[in-house]
């Protein structure tokens, strides 16, 4: 609305600026609606916790504790050895980190410190493509290619479905995550630090290893923790490539089929028409879900803490 000069100068100026009641009403409505959509996220969290805790509590209160540490994870037969799943998740996460940490960090250091700007602009989108590949695709790739071309060449009596192939697949999935967080961390190290190092006559190698990486260490540690959390939470790669969808005996041999917390949940839900079986089969799904939720939450909070506590203010 265009205002004439007399109007602007007149006593109505304040009224003009404060708006009509219609405008103010709209303002209130919009604000309430936006506030509601922000509050929705809290509702979602509450619902997640509620839906996990209710059935998980039924499981915990009714299960015979002996079956929690007995003979493997076969929920349909009433055997709920949680160790099998937790150890399976740890093995997969460890293999994944052994693959992703050196590759992701190496790629990040190269992109942040060594790559000429133009090369960097070309390579980053390619890494982002890798980040966009759905996990079912990597699951299939792990089962058909990684397992036969890599794992079975190293260990020729390994079955096609094994934890090693799944772990490598999960690792490939987390490379872009580690690379992008670490690269951001190193690029936010002020160049004054690098210049000071060069000014002392330090080489590029010394500058990178002794100055830039220590300065960025909070970001790097956070990247690893987030990646571990992601690896533990990853479902489809393990579900497709690690076998043992009907249940698994306790194993800590990565060249055997096995199961993780996530894959066990998917296997149970995918099994038959309904999630059924022995008395507590259905509830065990929620128990494992709650365990998984708590572990990943703890890791994410830890990552956040690291960033907050160790971060240096430049």
């Amino acid at each position: 609305m265009a205002l004439t000069v007399p109007q602007l100068l007149g006593p109505s100026l304040r009224e003009q600026l404060s708006g009509t009641s219609r405008r103010q009403r709209r303002e209130t409505v919009v604000k309430t609606a936006l506030r509601a959509s922000a509050a929705l996220s809290i509702l979602i969290s509450v619902l997640i916790v509620l839906s996990l805790v209710r059935e998980a509590w039924t499981f915990v209160s009714q299960v015979e504790w002996a079956t929690l540490l007995d003979d493997g994870w076969f929920p349909r037969r009433g055997l709920y050895d949680v160790r099998t799943l937790v150890v399976g998740s740890l093995i997969v996460a460890a293999i994944a980190m052994a693959v992703a940490a050196p590759l992701g960090l190496g790629a990040a250091v190269f992109l942040a410190e060594y790559a000429p700007p133009r090369l960097r602009r070309m390579l980053k989108p390619i890494l982002e493509v890798l980040a966009g590949i759905p996990s079912v695709v990597l699951g299939f790739f792990a089962l058909t290619w990684i397992s036969t071309e890599i794992v079975q060449r190293v260990q020729d009596d390994a079955p096609q479905s094994n934890l090693m192939a799944a772990g490598i697949g999960v690792g490939i999935l987390t490379i872009p995550l580690i690379a992008s967080i670490s690269e951001d961390a190193m690029r936010s190290v002020p160049s004054a630090l690098r210049e000071a190092s060069y000014g002392m006559g330090a080489r590029k190698l010394t500058t990178t290893v002794r100055v830039v990486i220590p300065a960025a260490v909070s970001g790097l540690v956070a990247a690893f923790i987030v990646a571990i959390s992601r690896a533990i939470g990853e479902t489809m790669v393990v579900f497709i490539a690690a076998g043992a969808t009907g249940g698994s005996l306790y194993t800590h041999d990565p060249f055997e089929p096995g199961q993780t917390m996530t894959a066990a949940m998917a296997a149970q839900a995918a099994g038959t028409d309904a999630v059924r079986g022995a008395a507590l089969t259905f509830q065990s799904l929620f128990f494992v879900g709650l365990l998984l939720f708590l572990i990943t939450l703890a890791l994410n909070v830890a990552a956040d803490r690291v960033v907050r506590r160790v971060r240096q203010k430049y």
Binding site: L34, L123, P125, V136, W145, I240
Partner: protein
């Protein structure tokens, strides 16, 4: 971009000085270090290349001989007749739910957090909460979907239907939409807002006419990426009860609203099911279905990346 410019401009001087200081000796360990770093990057890119080539060559026999048939066909236990139409249909509806639910709610929440929320306890809790939600494993969202949208609200969604799945995935990507949109809104310079307030615009008018248009490319990038994420997600769908086996009901058109309360499947689920079959023919089918899925997902990703790069360049 100060870092880049300094390194870029300072490179020559720095190297000359460094060489002098070393007394002209070759920097062997430095060169080796650089080679190791480059190797990490090359290995990563090689894995990506092998994956793409492997899937493409694996699916070629299906895609080259009966592409239309494969796209339009329904799930079948006979490999020579099986197709992915029902999977595409399910994924299409999941995308629709994401667009209709997650985008407005996510952008709305981001606007509130960035533009309205004073630094109160409420806004800090919401902020921490959203970051934690983004780290919750997708399979846990499947439990949420199962308990709430399949069981508790089963009367509304019809139980294990594409509607329940769509709402679940919309909730799954909501934190991503909020975080990326909030970043885009935060990047809008303050003087734009101050100018708006200065001429008497209300807060919402400033947001509507100045902040949102400026932040639009960034918001769009985030939403497109989250859409790609929703399309590739499988684990929550299994929990919500996607049909992993034969799906009755045959074809039906893509956009028929009536099927929202029918049993469903989706492209990633089709891939999972076929990957579990031992026969060689199904391996080719799986690869072909992956090519279809990747074509969609990577197209979205590429669009988002291009969009972002273009606007980043323009703004500078």
């Amino acid at each position: 971009m100060g870092v880049l410019a300094t390194i870029g401009d300072g490179r020559v001087t720095r190297d000359v000085v460094a060489r002098r200081l070393r007394g002209g000796k070759r920097d062997a360990s430095g060169t080796a270090f650089r080679a190791v770093l480059l190797a990490a990057l090359v290995v990563t890119l090689a894995v990506l290349a092998v994956l793409l080539v492997d899937v493409w060559t694996g699916g070629w026999s299906v895609l080259s001989t009966r592409f239309g048939d494969f796209i339009n066909g329904t799930l079948s236990s006979r490999a020579n007749r099986a197709g992915v139409f029902q999977g595409i249909r399910g994924s299409f509806w999941i995308a629709m739910f994401t667009i209709v639910l997650a985008f407005p709610l996510g952008i709305g929440a981001a606007i509130y957090l960035e533009e309205y929320a004073p630094n109160t306890r409420f806004s800090r809790i919401v902020d921490i909460n959203i970051r934690n939600l983004a780290g919750v494993p997708s399979v846990v969202y499947g439990i949420l979907g199962f308990a709430i949208f399949v069981k508790a609200l089963g009367g509304f969604t019809g139980g294990r239907t594409v509607m329940a799945a769509g709402i679940t995935l919309a909730i799954l990507v909501l934190p991503i939409v909020i975080i990326t949109s909030a970043e885009a809104i935060r990047a809008v310079p303050d003087n734009l807002r101050e100018a708006g307030f200065g001429v008497g615009a209300t807060r919402w008018e400033v947001i509507r006419h100045h902040v949102l248009p400026y932040a639009a490319p960034g918001i769009l990038t985030g939403t497109v990426l989250s859409l790609a994420r929703a399309l590739g997600e499988a684990a929550p769908l299994i929990l919500v009860g996607a049909t992993t086996d034969f799906l009755g009901g045959g074809k039906g058109s893509l956009v028929d609203i009536g099927q929202l309360t029918d049993r469903f499947t989706a492209l990633p689920i089709v891939i999972t099911t076929w990957a579990g079959r031992p026969q060689v023919e199904f391996r080719a089918l799986t690869s072909a279905a992956i090519v279809v899925l990747l074509a969609v997902v990577l197209l979205f990703n590429a669009a988002a990346i291009l969009l972002r790069n273009r606007y980043e360049k323009k703004r500078r």
